[in-house]
């Protein structure tokens, strides 16, 4: 490929001199470029001998100081004080399979390092463990990794231009190399001249053919040495550990909060406008009146054997008192001072109850009844709109509408724990809730009407209500009035002349 010049051109013709200067300039540029590249490569790779490691930068968040394609050479360093304010290479906490090169701006309270890209508006969101730091940036070899970046990102034009620049430089240098041989002091004018003179004596080969051979061989070897050298260097460069200097930014919406106050069960019951509300907080054996907290002046009276002041159902209530009905004739009736009222068409009955384990006596928690105290057969008395337990301590909600309309829970509640029982009825039908959760509905929307009576808690007639009863102590026929006292804990008995909604009931339980 070298131009095979005629020996005659060795003469210093003006044209030849100009041509030679161009070749010299090309050779110088080529040499500088190749030596520059070689220098960069050597500087990149030699520190490896001292345990320093080069990292190719793949993204630009350390601009303007560190660019994409730069190689950062880092020395092992894990002393936080030495790292502070400096550029470090570390395992990216966000992407543990990658390295990141950012500046260490401070040490966090937990000993981790806060890092930030110079070009990023905010520090990195994740702090870096000191043990994840690979090194401290020592040397920056500018742009030397660009060919690798071009290769990886497919910027073929730049890559090709780069390779062409190397090829051209090699070509220029090897051409100029011929002239260099001419200029060598003490040597015969040129190899070419020498071969031209010696050829006849050396061999019988055609001079024109043989003359360039030694030179061509030398320049081939030269070129191949360069090519192999570059291939090796490029391969080494491709193996460079890479490090991103990822651009990142954050923005925040802080201090969001959702608060649930300490609701007070008593206040919430009152806020729902009860017809009567016996908190059953009274203490002392001599106390007979159960205060009505509804504000409507409908107190109850404690009758029979009742233990007052047991621990109630509302842990946040003060006092958290309840009562325990302890004999078969115990009851909490509406006080005699309260006039009878017409049974409401829409209503809610609610009470907290606690049945001993294995409780099988059944009993009424709360209900509407006439007479005010004691029991009477349906020919005289009336009783429905009630919550009661059967012989298996299943909770039932019943009204009488020419027939026995019932909702019953599947299982018993004799677990010696407080539960909130709520029964509601209005024109939409009946619903039974336990602990705020609706456990059953009944489309019946009417109860015994045009009767007057009083509310009572803890006892009442169940004669005739044997339908669906499970367990022992089933009620007799309604001609045999039989009082069923719930012999367990009772608390927070309340009545509304409207049906509470499911969410109101759930909320009441929530505020317990």
């Amino acid at each position: 490929m070298d131009i095979d010049t005629d020996p005659a051109t060795c003469s210093d013709s003006a044209q030849q001199a100009a041509y030679s200067r161009v070749r010299l300039a090309g050779g110088l540029v080529g040499r500088m470029w190749l030596w520059f590249l070689a220098g960069c490569l050597v500087i990149t790779l030699v520190p490896v001998l001292f345990g320093w490691r080069p990292y190719l930068i793949e993204s630009g968040s350390m601009e303007p100081r560190i660019h994409v394609g730069d190689v950062v050479i880092a020395s092992p360093e894990q002393d936080p004080q030495a790292l502070l304010g400096r550029v470090a290479v570390f395992t990216d906490p966000d992407r543990p399979d990658r390295n990141k090169t950012h500046r260490v701006i401070e040490a966090a309270d937990d000993g981790r390092l806060v890092t930030k890209g110079d070009a990023n508006p905010t520090p990195d969101s994740q702090h870096v463990a000191v043990s994840d730091v690979h090194g401290l940036g020592r040397l920056l070899v500018g742009f030397v990794g660009l060919p690798v970046v071009w290769l990886q990102s497919g910027q073929w034009l730049w890559l090709v231009l780069f390779l062409v620049s190397i090829a051209l430089s090699v070509r220029w240098v090897s051409r100029d190399h011929e002239d260099e041989q001419d200029d060598a002091p003490g040597d015969p004018p040129t190899d070419r001249m020498l071969s031209a003179q010696a050829a006849p004596t050396r061999s019988g080969l055609d001079i024109a053919a043989s003359r360039p051979i030694p030179l061509a061989r030398a320049s081939h070897r030269h070129r191949w040495a360069w090519r192999i050298g570059y291939a090796v260097a490029l391969a080494a460069a491709l193996l460079l550990p890479t490090s991103t200097a990822a651009f990142s930014a954050t923005t925040r919406s802080t201090g969001n909060s959702w608060s649930v106050p300490n609701y007070d069960y008593t206040n919430e019951v009152k806020a729902l406008g009860p017809y009567l509300y016996w908190k059953l907080d009274e203490t002392g054996t001599g106390t007979t009146a159960a205060t009505d907290s509804s504000g409507n002046g409908r107190p109850g009276e404690y009758n029979g054997s009742i233990t007052k002041g047991i621990t109630g159902a509302l842990v946040t209530d003060t006092p958290n008192n309840a009562v325990s009905l302890t004999s078969a004739n115990s009851c909490i009736n509406t006080a005699s001072s309260v006039a009878a009222t017409t049974a409401p068409a829409a209503f809610t009955v609610a009470a907290w109850f606690k049945a001993p384990v294995g409780y099988s006596k059944g009993g009424k928690l709360i209900g509407f009844e006439r007479p005010r105290t004691g029991v009477a057969a349906p020919s005289v008395g009336q009783y429905d709109r009630m919550l009661y337990l059967d012989g298996n301590a299943r909770l039932r909600f019943g009204v009488y509408n020419g027939g026995y309309q019932l909702i019953s829970t599947a299982g018993g509640w004799d677990d010696n724990a407080w539960h909130l029982a709520v029964g509601t009825m209005n024109s939409a039908g009946m619903a039974l809730y336990v602990d705020g959760v609706r456990v059953g509905t009944n489309s019946n929307n009417a109860a015994e009407s045009n009767t007057s009576g009083w509310w009572r808690a803890g006892c009442g007639n169940l004669a005739g209500w044997a339908s669906g009863w499970s367990g022992p102590n089933a009620p007799p026929a309604d001609a045999t009035p039989t009082n069923y006292t719930f012999q367990g804990g009772l608390d927070e008995a309340a009545v509304w002349t409207k049906a509470l909604t499911a969410s109101e009931v759930a909320f009441l339980y929530f505020t317990r």
């Binding site: 010299l24 050779g27 110088l28 040499r31 470029w33 030596w35 520059f36 590249l37 070689a38 220098g39 500087i43 993204s59 630009g60 968040s61 601009e63 303007p64 950062v72 304010g85 906490p93 966000d94 992407r95 500046r103 701006i105 110079d118 070009a119 990023n120 508006p121 969101s125 994740q126 040397l139 920056l140 070899v141 500018g142 260099e180 200029d183 002091p185 651009f247 990142s248 930014a249 954050t250 923005t251 925040r252 919406s253 802080t254 201090g255 969001n256 909060s257 959702w258 608060s259 649930v260 300490n262 609701y263 602990d435 705020g436 499911a502 759930a506 909320f507 339980y509 929530f510 505020t511």
Partner: protein
């Protein structure tokens, strides 16, 4: 000096010049990049390539922190609400935006509350005209948001692209009617959007 020896000198100097240039490049670059000063902080980002701001649910855009979008008090079971926070991305390179959290409470209320987060590209301040079929980013308990603490477990993958782009995140919270715990408690969460060049 003869032309020959001048050429020889030039040829000898050329490698030295190349090596010197390489050394100079390295020395200068290293000096600029690794000097111990931190004078760069904060002011060079204008030339930076990614930037995020959020409108704090209908307020004005801010880079760092916007006031709480939610300060909901006196919650009852069955209550719910939703707000939209618009995030503005200004970038000149490919990037990804994720939603992360901090200061997420772990009490019973946080376990009872639900949070649904939907994303739609575009600017829908105050949820006005928020698309009917957004991309769901999260739908579980509020306390579960605590798992999204950093880039690797961040929520959503909004590829904002270059230029100034908007994405809207709708946060729908609820305390289900059946909640039985959480009284007297406060649930908290910080929402953090992080953007990284891809």
């Amino acid at each position: 000096m003869s032309a020959q020896s001048r050429r020889r000198t030039l040829r000898a100097v050329a490698p030295v010049a190349g090596l010197l240039a390489a050394g100079l490049l390295v020395w200068q670059g290293s000096y600029a990049a690794f000097s111990a000063t931190t004078d760069n902080a904060g002011n060079s980002w204008a030339a930076g390539s990614v930037k995020l701001r959020n409108d704090g649910a209908g307020g004005s855009f801010a880079v760092s922190s916007t006031p709480a979008a939610f300060t909901v008090a006196a919650i009852k079971p069955g209550d719910s609400g939703a707000k939209c926070i618009v995030v503005e991305s200004t970038a000149d390179i490919g990037n990804l935006v994720k939603l992360e959290t901090a200061n997420v409470s772990s009490n019973a209320l946080s376990g009872a509350m639900t949070m649904k987060i939907d994303f739609a590209a575009g600017q829908f301040a105050n949820c006005a005209s928020f698309p009917a079929s957004p991309t769901n980013v999260y739908n579980s308990t509020l306390s579960g948001l605590a798992a999204a603490t950093n880039w690797s477990n961040g929520l959503g993958n909004w590829s904002a692209g270059t230029g100034t782009k908007y994405g809207t995140y709708r946060f729908s919270w609820a305390l289900p009617g059946g909640a039985t715990a959480g009284m007297g408690q406060t649930a908290t969460a910080d929402f953090i959007w992080e953007q990284q060049s891809s």
